[in-house]
Protein backbone atom coordinates (compact mmCIF):
# COMPACT_ATOMS: atom_id res chain seq x y z
CA UNK A 1 0.00 0.00 0.00
CA UNK A 2 0.97 3.59 -0.41
CA UNK A 3 -0.57 7.02 -0.60
CA UNK A 4 -1.59 8.14 -4.06
CA UNK A 5 -1.09 11.62 -5.46
CA UNK A 6 -3.32 12.65 -8.36
CA UNK A 7 -1.31 15.07 -10.46
CA UNK A 8 -3.00 17.90 -12.40
CA UNK A 9 -2.13 18.36 -16.09
CA UNK A 10 0.10 21.38 -15.48
CA UNK A 11 2.32 19.48 -13.02
CA UNK A 12 2.71 16.31 -15.06
CA UNK A 13 5.95 17.67 -16.50
CA UNK A 14 7.41 16.70 -13.11
CA UNK A 15 6.06 13.15 -13.21
CA UNK A 16 7.00 12.18 -16.75
CA UNK A 17 3.38 12.58 -17.80
CA UNK A 18 2.01 10.30 -15.10
CA UNK A 19 -1.46 11.21 -13.82
CA UNK A 20 -0.83 9.58 -10.46
CA UNK A 21 2.26 8.77 -8.41
CA UNK A 22 2.72 7.10 -5.03
CA UNK A 23 4.50 8.15 -1.88
CA UNK A 24 4.58 7.79 1.87
CA UNK A 25 4.42 9.92 4.98
CA UNK A 26 2.47 10.49 8.17
CA UNK A 27 1.45 14.04 7.34
CA UNK A 28 0.70 15.85 4.10
CA UNK A 29 4.00 17.77 4.49
CA UNK A 30 5.98 14.53 4.80
CA UNK A 31 4.12 12.99 1.91
CA UNK A 32 4.85 15.96 -0.37
CA UNK A 33 8.55 15.85 0.64
CA UNK A 34 8.61 12.12 -0.09
CA UNK A 35 7.00 12.48 -3.52
CA UNK A 36 9.29 15.41 -4.31
CA UNK A 37 12.27 13.12 -3.75
CA UNK A 38 11.27 11.08 -6.78
CA UNK A 39 9.85 14.05 -8.72
CA UNK A 40 11.96 17.10 -7.88
CA UNK A 41 10.28 20.44 -8.43
CA UNK A 42 6.79 19.23 -7.65
CA UNK A 43 6.87 20.52 -4.09
CA UNK A 44 7.60 24.13 -4.89
CA UNK A 45 4.54 24.26 -7.12
CA UNK A 46 2.34 23.24 -4.18
CA UNK A 47 4.08 24.78 -1.17
CA UNK A 48 5.69 28.18 -0.59
CA UNK A 49 7.23 30.36 2.07
CA UNK A 50 8.95 29.87 5.39
CA UNK A 51 7.30 28.43 7.41
CA UNK A 52 5.95 26.40 4.54
CA UNK A 53 2.34 26.86 3.57
CA UNK A 54 0.15 25.68 0.76
CA UNK A 55 0.11 28.06 -2.16
CA UNK A 56 -2.99 30.24 -2.13
CA UNK A 57 -4.13 29.19 -5.61
CA UNK A 58 -3.49 25.47 -5.34
CA UNK A 59 -6.15 23.27 -3.77
CA UNK A 60 -5.18 20.03 -2.03
CA UNK A 61 -7.67 17.40 -0.94
CA UNK A 62 -7.13 14.29 1.15
CA UNK A 63 -9.90 11.77 0.52
CA UNK A 64 -12.05 14.56 -0.96
CA UNK A 65 -11.58 16.93 2.01
CA UNK A 66 -9.99 20.30 1.30
CA UNK A 67 -6.98 20.28 3.63
CA UNK A 68 -7.48 23.97 4.42
CA UNK A 69 -10.21 22.74 6.74
CA UNK A 70 -8.27 19.79 8.19
CA UNK A 71 -4.96 21.31 9.29
CA UNK A 72 -3.25 22.17 6.01
CA UNK A 73 0.19 20.61 5.65
CA UNK A 74 -0.18 19.04 9.10
CA UNK A 75 -3.14 16.96 7.92
CA UNK A 76 -2.53 13.29 8.75
CA UNK A 77 -2.28 10.80 5.89
CA UNK A 78 -2.05 7.03 5.79
CA UNK A 79 -1.75 4.10 3.42
CA UNK A 80 -4.63 3.97 0.99
CA UNK A 81 -5.37 7.69 1.11
CA UNK A 82 -5.79 9.64 -2.10
CA UNK A 83 -4.33 13.14 -2.31
CA UNK A 84 -5.67 15.30 -5.12
CA UNK A 85 -3.95 18.51 -6.20
CA UNK A 86 -5.97 20.94 -8.32
CA UNK A 87 -4.87 24.41 -9.37
CA UNK A 88 -7.54 26.97 -8.55
CA UNK A 89 -9.58 28.21 -11.46
CA UNK A 90 -9.53 31.90 -10.71
CA UNK A 91 -8.71 35.30 -12.09
CA UNK A 92 -9.69 38.93 -12.09
Amino acid sequence: MAIELRVPTILRTYTGGEKAVNGDGATLAEFIDNVNGAHPGLKERIVEGEPEELRRFVNVYVNDEDVRFTGGLKTGVKDGDVVVVLPAVAGG
Binding site: T9, I10, Y61, L86, P87, V89, A90, G91
Partner: protein, 151 residues
Protein backbone atom coordinates in the same frame (compact mmCIF):
# COMPACT_ATOMS: atom_id res chain seq x y z
CA UNK B 1 -8.77 28.78 -33.22
CA UNK B 2 -11.75 28.13 -30.99
CA UNK B 3 -14.67 26.49 -32.74
CA UNK B 4 -17.79 26.68 -30.63
CA UNK B 5 -21.44 25.83 -31.20
CA UNK B 6 -23.94 28.68 -31.27
CA UNK B 7 -26.11 27.42 -28.37
CA UNK B 8 -23.01 27.16 -26.13
CA UNK B 9 -21.78 30.58 -27.23
CA UNK B 10 -25.18 32.11 -26.50
CA UNK B 11 -25.43 30.40 -23.11
CA UNK B 12 -22.04 31.78 -22.02
CA UNK B 13 -23.06 35.32 -23.04
CA UNK B 14 -26.39 34.86 -21.26
CA UNK B 15 -24.63 33.67 -18.09
CA UNK B 16 -22.34 36.71 -18.14
CA UNK B 17 -25.26 39.10 -18.57
CA UNK B 18 -27.28 37.40 -15.85
CA UNK B 19 -24.51 37.58 -13.23
CA UNK B 20 -23.54 41.17 -14.01
CA UNK B 21 -22.25 43.20 -12.12
CA UNK B 22 -20.41 40.21 -10.62
CA UNK B 23 -18.07 38.20 -12.81
CA UNK B 24 -19.56 34.98 -14.19
CA UNK B 25 -17.41 31.89 -14.70
CA UNK B 26 -17.59 28.31 -15.88
CA UNK B 27 -16.16 25.67 -18.15
CA UNK B 28 -17.19 23.86 -21.26
CA UNK B 29 -15.98 20.29 -21.03
CA UNK B 30 -15.38 18.03 -23.99
CA UNK B 31 -13.98 14.58 -24.74
CA UNK B 32 -10.24 14.49 -23.97
CA UNK B 33 -8.20 15.36 -27.03
CA UNK B 34 -11.23 16.35 -29.14
CA UNK B 35 -10.95 20.16 -28.77
CA UNK B 36 -14.77 20.16 -28.83
CA UNK B 37 -16.53 22.19 -26.18
CA UNK B 38 -19.75 20.23 -25.77
CA UNK B 39 -20.83 20.22 -22.13
CA UNK B 40 -21.43 23.63 -20.57
CA UNK B 41 -20.92 23.73 -16.82
CA UNK B 42 -21.72 27.17 -15.38
CA UNK B 43 -19.92 27.55 -12.06
CA UNK B 44 -20.65 29.66 -9.02
CA UNK B 45 -18.23 32.54 -8.56
CA UNK B 46 -17.26 31.88 -4.94
CA UNK B 47 -15.68 35.34 -4.79
CA UNK B 48 -19.01 36.95 -5.78
CA UNK B 49 -17.09 39.96 -6.95
CA UNK B 50 -17.17 42.41 -9.87
CA UNK B 51 -13.37 42.20 -10.13
CA UNK B 52 -12.46 38.60 -9.25
CA UNK B 53 -13.67 35.07 -9.84
CA UNK B 54 -12.78 31.77 -8.27
CA UNK B 55 -14.45 28.36 -8.40
CA UNK B 56 -15.46 27.10 -4.96
CA UNK B 57 -12.93 24.45 -3.90
CA UNK B 58 -15.59 21.76 -3.33
CA UNK B 59 -17.24 22.52 -6.68
CA UNK B 60 -13.82 22.39 -8.32
CA UNK B 61 -13.11 18.90 -6.98
CA UNK B 62 -16.54 17.61 -8.03
CA UNK B 63 -16.11 19.09 -11.50
CA UNK B 64 -12.70 17.50 -12.06
CA UNK B 65 -13.82 14.11 -10.73
CA UNK B 66 -16.83 14.22 -13.02
CA UNK B 67 -14.68 15.13 -16.03
CA UNK B 68 -12.27 12.33 -15.10
CA UNK B 69 -15.08 9.77 -14.97
CA UNK B 70 -16.33 10.91 -18.36
CA UNK B 71 -12.85 11.09 -19.88
CA UNK B 72 -13.31 14.80 -20.48
CA UNK B 73 -11.12 17.85 -20.11
CA UNK B 74 -11.87 21.56 -19.71
CA UNK B 75 -11.85 22.63 -23.35
CA UNK B 76 -13.03 26.14 -22.52
CA UNK B 77 -12.64 28.08 -19.28
CA UNK B 78 -14.71 31.25 -19.42
CA UNK B 79 -15.32 34.28 -17.27
CA UNK B 80 -16.65 37.77 -17.69
CA UNK B 81 -15.28 41.21 -17.16
CA UNK B 82 -18.00 43.59 -16.12
CA UNK B 83 -16.31 46.98 -16.50
CA UNK B 84 -13.32 46.36 -18.76
CA UNK B 85 -12.58 44.83 -22.15
CA UNK B 86 -12.64 41.10 -22.82
CA UNK B 87 -8.87 40.78 -22.48
CA UNK B 88 -7.04 38.77 -19.78
CA UNK B 89 -6.07 40.86 -16.76
CA UNK B 90 -2.69 40.50 -15.10
CA UNK B 91 -4.36 38.28 -12.49
CA UNK B 92 -5.94 36.14 -15.21
CA UNK B 93 -2.53 35.59 -16.76
CA UNK B 94 -0.76 34.82 -13.47
CA UNK B 95 -3.41 32.34 -12.36
CA UNK B 96 -4.05 30.56 -15.66
CA UNK B 97 -3.06 26.95 -14.95
CA UNK B 98 -4.74 24.94 -17.69
CA UNK B 99 -2.32 25.06 -20.63
CA UNK B 100 -4.67 23.02 -22.83
CA UNK B 101 -7.72 25.24 -22.39
CA UNK B 102 -9.19 28.01 -24.50
CA UNK B 103 -9.62 30.92 -22.11
CA UNK B 104 -12.77 32.77 -23.13
CA UNK B 105 -13.53 36.29 -21.93
CA UNK B 106 -16.86 38.03 -22.29
CA UNK B 107 -17.36 41.68 -21.45
CA UNK B 108 -20.65 43.05 -20.17
CA UNK B 109 -19.35 46.61 -19.84
CA UNK B 110 -21.14 49.67 -21.20
CA UNK B 111 -24.65 48.35 -20.60
CA UNK B 112 -24.24 45.05 -22.46
CA UNK B 113 -25.92 43.37 -19.47
CA UNK B 114 -29.16 45.32 -19.91
CA UNK B 115 -32.18 43.31 -21.11
CA UNK B 116 -32.86 46.08 -23.61
CA UNK B 117 -29.38 45.80 -25.13
CA UNK B 118 -29.35 43.80 -28.33
CA UNK B 119 -26.00 44.78 -29.82
CA UNK B 120 -22.93 42.58 -30.03
CA UNK B 121 -21.28 41.38 -26.81
CA UNK B 122 -17.47 41.10 -26.75
CA UNK B 123 -16.53 37.41 -26.78
CA UNK B 124 -12.82 36.65 -27.26
CA UNK B 125 -10.62 33.61 -26.81
CA UNK B 126 -7.00 33.17 -25.76
CA UNK B 127 -4.34 30.62 -25.03
CA UNK B 128 -2.49 31.47 -21.84
CA UNK B 129 0.69 29.43 -21.34
CA UNK B 130 3.56 30.31 -18.98
CA UNK B 131 2.38 33.89 -18.69
CA UNK B 132 2.10 34.40 -22.43
CA UNK B 133 -1.23 35.38 -23.97
CA UNK B 134 -2.09 34.59 -27.56
CA UNK B 135 -5.48 35.66 -28.88
CA UNK B 136 -7.15 33.27 -31.29
CA UNK B 137 -9.98 33.42 -33.76
CA UNK B 138 -13.44 32.39 -32.58
CA UNK B 139 -15.57 30.57 -35.10
CA UNK B 140 -19.20 30.03 -34.17
CA UNK B 141 -20.91 27.12 -35.88
CA UNK B 142 -24.48 25.84 -35.67
CA UNK B 143 -23.20 22.38 -34.80
CA UNK B 144 -19.88 20.51 -34.78
CA UNK B 145 -21.41 18.34 -37.52
CA UNK B 146 -20.65 21.23 -39.90
CA UNK B 147 -16.94 21.03 -39.15
CA UNK B 148 -16.52 17.35 -39.91
CA UNK B 149 -13.39 16.81 -41.93
CA UNK B 150 -12.01 20.28 -41.08
CA UNK B 151 -9.52 18.93 -38.59
Amino acid sequence: MLIIEKPTYDAIVEHARRDHPDEACGVVAGPAGSDRAVRLVPMLNAAMSPTFYEFDSGDLLRLYKEMDERDEEPVVIYHSHTATEAYPSRTDITLAQEPGAHYVLVSTRDGADSPAYDGPVEFRSYRIIDGEVVEEEVRVVGSYEETKGDN
